[in-house]
């Protein structure tokens, strides 16, 4: 039905739109696109060596499953009942540091992350999701995934598989992901969107990808999770990410020394710790300064490194007085590079 309000709204919006004159930007868009089309790699072999070295295990081996056909990478069409893509695996028993993401209690929707050392089942993606389901962030933070198995009578929720292509991460569960805190229950769960962001950010960090995450139940796309409708893959919301983001170099990039690591951060007193690992050796380490008090500010580190494969890790030391009890390293981020 078309009434006078609708007509007036249409005209008012047209008028407002006409008053906006965008600046010509095509050359800038094409220039930016040309700079960002370098192929990305998710994991380098050194990544696994460094992961193993950071924990206790040795001899971790990176094994990819069969590659997905190109057309399986198309996000809107990802309705296949069979998981497609790669499974990221290490030797069972390897200890893998992971950034598990939880939700602040202050209703801001912001996530907090801590580095946890997870003894791998061999499938790193499955480990990350299972660690969230079993994770306890303490009293200061919320974990929407922990409540899934709150009811001892119910069939436990299990993650069946996690596969990744360039365009999509697919997580398959054994059963429907229901609302976990019922009326009268003495528990608090974060909103559904925050719970989903926990998963997306944790998986993207662990699998070194920025692909959105599709939830499936027994192979079919989930249409609902945590009481809210779910319509397709869930993308990461960068605005709720923990306080450290690396903007350069890109994951898997080949770079020359000195390696310039640039990003933006907000942390206690602005401090950001970093280290460059090669195999089981921390080659260099130090700290830099970004923003604080919730205000993001740029940071930059220049690291002289001989040729080779490295994992560069950045984090905020919990000793500085951040999220008490969560983990020693907060907001950890990792980028794997090859120095030529």
């Amino acid at each position: 039905m078309n009434d006078s309000t609708e007509t007036a709204l249409r005209e008012a919006l047209q008028e407002r739109g006409d008053s906006i004159s965008p600046a010509p930007s095509l050359p800038r868009i094409l220039h930016r696109a040309a700079r960002t089309t370098a192929p990305r790699r998710r994991w380098l072999p050194v990544g696994v060596a460094a992961l193993a070295a950071a924990g206790l295990a040795t001899g971790a081996v990176l094994v990819f499953g069969p590659s997905a056909p190109d057309d399986a990478a198309d996000v809107p069409a990802a309705q296949s009942s069979e998981p497609s893509g790669e499974t990221v695996t290490v030797a069972p028993g390897s200890v893998v540091p992971m950034a598990l993401h939880y939700v602040r209690r202050d209703a801001s929707g912001l996530l907090v992350s801590g580095e946890f050392e997870v003894a791998s089942s061999g499938d790193v993606g499955v480990d990350a999701v299972q660690a969230l389901i079993e994770g306890d962030p303490g009293a200061a933070f919320l974990n929407g995934w922990a409540g899934l198995n709150r009811d001892p009578e119910a069939d436990p929720v299990r993650v069946e598989s996690v596969t990744v292509t360039d365009e999509l991460v697919t997580v398959d569960f054994n059963r429907f992901l229901g609302v976990t805190c019922g009326p009268g229950d003495r528990c608090v769960d974060p909103p559904a969107d925050s719970t989903l962001q926990q998963l997306v950010h944790t998986l993207q960090s662990t699998l070194r990808t920025d692909a959105p995450v599709l939830l499936t139940v027994a192979g079919s796309p989930a249409t609902e999770a945590f009481g809210e409708p779910l319509d397709g893959p869930v993308a990461a919301d960068p605005a709720v990410a923990p306080g450290i983001r690396v903007l350069a170099p890109e994951q898997g990039a080949s770079v020359s020394s000195p390696v310039v690591v640039a990003g933006e951060s907000t942390s206690f007193e602005g401090n950001v710790q970093w280290e460059a690992r090669r195999g089981d050796e921390v080659v260099d380490a130090g700290f830099t300064t970004g923003g604080s008090m919730g205000e993001l500010a740029p940071f930059e580190v220049s690291i002289q490194l001989p040729p080779g494969d490295y994992t560069i890790a950045l984090w905020e030391d919990n000793a500085a007085g951040g999220a008490e009890g969560l983990a020693r390293r907060l907001s950890p981020v990792y980028v794997d590079v090859t120095v030529e």
Binding site: S4, T5, L9, S19, A33, T36, D74, P229, P238, V240
Partner: protein
């Protein structure tokens, strides 16, 4: 600058061709949409440029190039949401909407009514505002709005009717 090829089938376009075609046809409209979502043209232009760069990167993997505009629209709305969230986190408040620019052709009374209507639109919850902008500025169908916002058609109807109901109250009072 890359000139588009003469082939009009999107499936045959290179990524540069696709971006160039979609820029000439839709860039200005998407910036205007994003400006109204964000109430800030500078941020809006960044969000829309990011969407085009992302489309360029994914072009070869898009299964349905004909749906590239839908992809851009969703990217723009998602980018605007992230910007708003970042702003609300950083500043804990949104900037005031810009004052309406009176058109020389409209009477002062009509201009004031439109100003109040747009001010009321700016006060709506984000999702209602998104639905109304897509419907009454871009003239999208219910199905296209649902696809752009990744919500059900039922949710589109609900947000639309609630938003319009609030605007009608303002309109009748003005």
């Amino acid at each position: 600058m890359t000139e588009p090829t003469t082939d009009s089938s999107p499936a045959a376009w290179s990524a540069d061709d696709a971006v160039t075609h979609l820029y000439s046809g839709h860039y200005a409209t998407l910036v205007r949409l994003a400006t109204m979502l964000l109430r800030d043209q500078g941020s809006a232009e960044e969000v829309v440029q990011d969407a085009y760069v992302a489309l360029h990167q994914r072009w070869k993997r898009l299964k349905e190039p004909d749906r590239a505009l839908a992809y851009l629209r969703t990217s723009v709305v998602n980018g605007a949401r992230s910007q708003l969230r970042r702003r609300s986190v950083a500043a804990r408040h949104l900037p005031q909407p810009p004052a309406a620019v009176d058109s020389a052709e409209t009477s002062a009374l009509a201009a004031e009514q439109r100003h109040q209507l747009l001010a009321a639109l700016d006060r709506l919850p984000d999702r209602q505002r998104e639905v109304l902008l897509l419907r009454y500025y871009l003239d999208l169908s219910e199905a296209d709005i649902a696809n752009t916002l990744r919500i059900s058609r039922g949710a589109v109807k609900t947000h639309s009717s609630r938003g319009l109901a609030a605007l009608r109250t303002t309109w009748r009072q003005s």
